[in-house]
């Protein structure tokens, strides 16, 4: 019995490592191809060590499109969307979690119900409204419509509900208004949930594609995902340049993810879903 368990454990371990390598192969190929000479991209069998290493691919890709501007746009959009959404969500979550008010249940049901509205339905009407407001090709169009996230509100509400009412009562006795209780006590206590919600928003915003594709026409307003897609359309016949561009587009997210991965995965496991 014991030996059989050991065997199963080793088999699972080996299978998982093999699977992880398999999942990583496209990344590896991207990296390797981004350093190849154009005529060495499609050799058979595949050369996994580029020789000579052609760093110029990165320089050429970088010069062919305004990548610095794309990165700046994405960073601004992701930071502003995340910050705005956390403020909006924390306020709404506070109301739903800790205030006993008229219409609470139907309003909460309405909020949850909007999760069933698919993104494609919002594209045309939001585009029409925002173009009338003159928001096309501005950061406003890229950020403001995404500052509402029922998922974040739900996540924070779940967490806020676990904080005992006595704490708020005691704070109220000390003359602490609701607003200060939320910002200085509740949000710091709910740090794991706030971080998880923030990470989801940040990565979702950084990776958004369809909406930015629609509301940006000028090259200077494009975020990195749209930028790299248009670059691919123009330079797709040069896979080494396209892979250099993809590597550049993916690198900041990977770096960011490696810094916070523990928080992220544990965050989903702990706060994401409770039966």
């Amino acid at each position: 019995m014991k030996r059989r368990d050991d065997f199963v454990r080793y088999a699972v371990q080996v299978a998982l490592v093999a699977g992880a390598v398999l999942v990583a192969v496209p990344f590896l190929w991207m990296l390797v191809t981004s350093l190849k000479e154009p005529d060495q991209v499609f050799t058979q069998p595949i050369h996994w060590v580029p020789h000579p290493v052609r760093w110029r691919n990165y320089v050429e890709a970088w010069q062919a499109a305004p990548f610095a501007r794309y990165f700046l746009n994405s960073a601004v959009v992701a930071v502003v969307t995340t910050a705005g959404q956390l403020v909006v969500s924390a306020m709404a979550a506070y109301a739903f979690a800790r205030l006993d008010f008229y219409l609470r249940e139907p309003l909460f049901a309405l909020f949850l119900g909007t999760m069933m509205i698919p993104e494609p339905l919002r594209l045309v009407p939001n585009f029409l409204v925002l173009s009338r407001l003159g928001w096309i090709d501005t950061y406003l169009a890229l950020t403001v419509p995404w500052m509402i996230s029922v998922f974040s509100i739900f996540l924070l509400r779940q967490f806020f509900q676990t904080i005992p009412q006595e704490l708020e009562d005691a704070a109220a006795v000390d003359g602490c208004p609701r607003w200060r209780f939320l910002t200085q006590i509740l949000v710091p206590l709910a740090r794991p949930a706030v971080l998880t919600a923030g990470l989801f928003t940040f990565i979702g915003s950084w990776n958004a594609f369809l909406w930015p594709l629609i509301v940006t026409n000028r090259e200077t307003m494009r975020p990195i995902q749209v930028g790299v897609a248009t670059f691919f359309q123009e330079y797709g016949t040069l896979p080494n340049l396209a892979m250099a561009a993809s590597t550049m587009a993916v690198a900041p997210v990977l770096l960011f993810f490696f810094l916070v991965q523990r928080q992220f995965i544990e965050g989903i496991i702990r706060t994401g879903l409770k039966g």
Partner: protein
């Protein structure tokens, strides 16, 4: 004359609406408003030039007789059938494997999660070349190594959609595995201990303990992945543009084409509305049928 103090509930309501104000504004403007506005637009003939003209249900009637629209439904359904069960089965298997003490558990979880973090379209660009029909395309190279013939993948109308599905399975696997992992960790150890005392092990443990107790998670993952799969866009836009021969023309790409390439907003809104109603009904039906059979601890 003493003024009556407002009741605590009334005061809480005033405070609550203050806290809810930004969320309500954004929700009304960008989520709920569009539900009504796009229905209104779907009743118009509206090209970017010229003034909108009221046409009633003409757009919907036109959709009914539009073979490309029905083809887009078929293609989308085919994509859903290819990608959703595959991803979920693999994710559940992966989560069960990761739900045990292993060497380098954190690193393994991260490795499987990475494709989800990297944007769907950056991934699609890489996979475009993975499917490259020439020598050196990764997948054909792998086929060659096991002695199978080279395929034309994205250029072959029969294989283009499976190729898109493979890309998305790769992209979503880690995310769904983490959701299943969360579900597995919520199952109390006592159930397993009890079942083990009753002599259950291996497959029977999974069949009679894990599977029923995991059903809320499975149900949740099923709903979000169905809704997501019906809205697939990025990989199609990057890898195939709906081709070859419209074999990967999915609904959202069809909608995108009519709205932001042809600027036929009325027709596009009708497409969006049909999709919306379909997803709405699908979720309700699931809640009625599968939802009632879900076991909670």
């Amino acid at each position: 004359m003493a003024r009556r103090r407002p009741s605590p509930r009334l005061r809480a309501t005033v405070a609550a609406f203050f806290f809810l104000l930004p969320a309500l504004l954004l929700l009304g403007l960008f989520e709920i408003g569009p539900v009504f506005y796009s229905f209104y637009v779907s009743l118009l003939r509206w090209n970017i030039i010229g003034t909108p003209e009221w046409v009633g249900f003409a757009n919907y009637l036109a959709l009914r007789g539009d073979p490309d629209f029905w083809q887009a439904w078929l293609n989308t359904a085919y994509y859903v059938l290819l990608s959703v069960p595959t991803t979920m089965a693999l994710a559940l298997l992966l989560a069960s494997a990761l739900h045990r003490p292993l060497v380098g558990l954190g690193a393994l979880r991260t490795a499987y999660f990475l494709p989800y973090v990297t944007a769907a379209n950056a991934a699609a660009i890489v996979w475009f070349y993975v499917f490259h029909p020439e020598a050196g395309g990764l997948l054909n190279e792998a086929l060659r190594l096991v002695g199978l013939p080279r395929q034309r993948w994205l250029l072959d109308p029969r294989l283009a959609m499976p190729a898109v599905a493979i890309t998305q399975v790769w992209h979503l696997l880690g995310y769904q595995a983490v959701l299943f992992l969360a579900g597995l960790q919520n199952i109390s150890r006592e159930y397993y201990e009890q079942a083990a005392i009753d002599g259950a092990s291996g497959w029977r443990l999974f069949r009679y303990v894990t599977w029923p107790l995991l059903s809320p998670t499975t149900y949740f993952v099923l709903i979000i992945s169905l809704i997501g799969a019906f809205q697939v866009f990025s990989p199609v836009y990057i890898m195939t543009r709906g081709g070859p021969l419209d074999s990967t023309m999915v609904l959202v790409y069809y909608l995108y084409r009519h709205s932001f390439e042809y600027f036929d907003f009325g027709y596009a809104s009708a497409i969006a509305y049909v999709l919306f109603v379909f997803l709405f009904v699908l979720t309700l039906v699931q809640r009625r049928t599968i939802g009632t059979r879900v076991h909670y601890q």
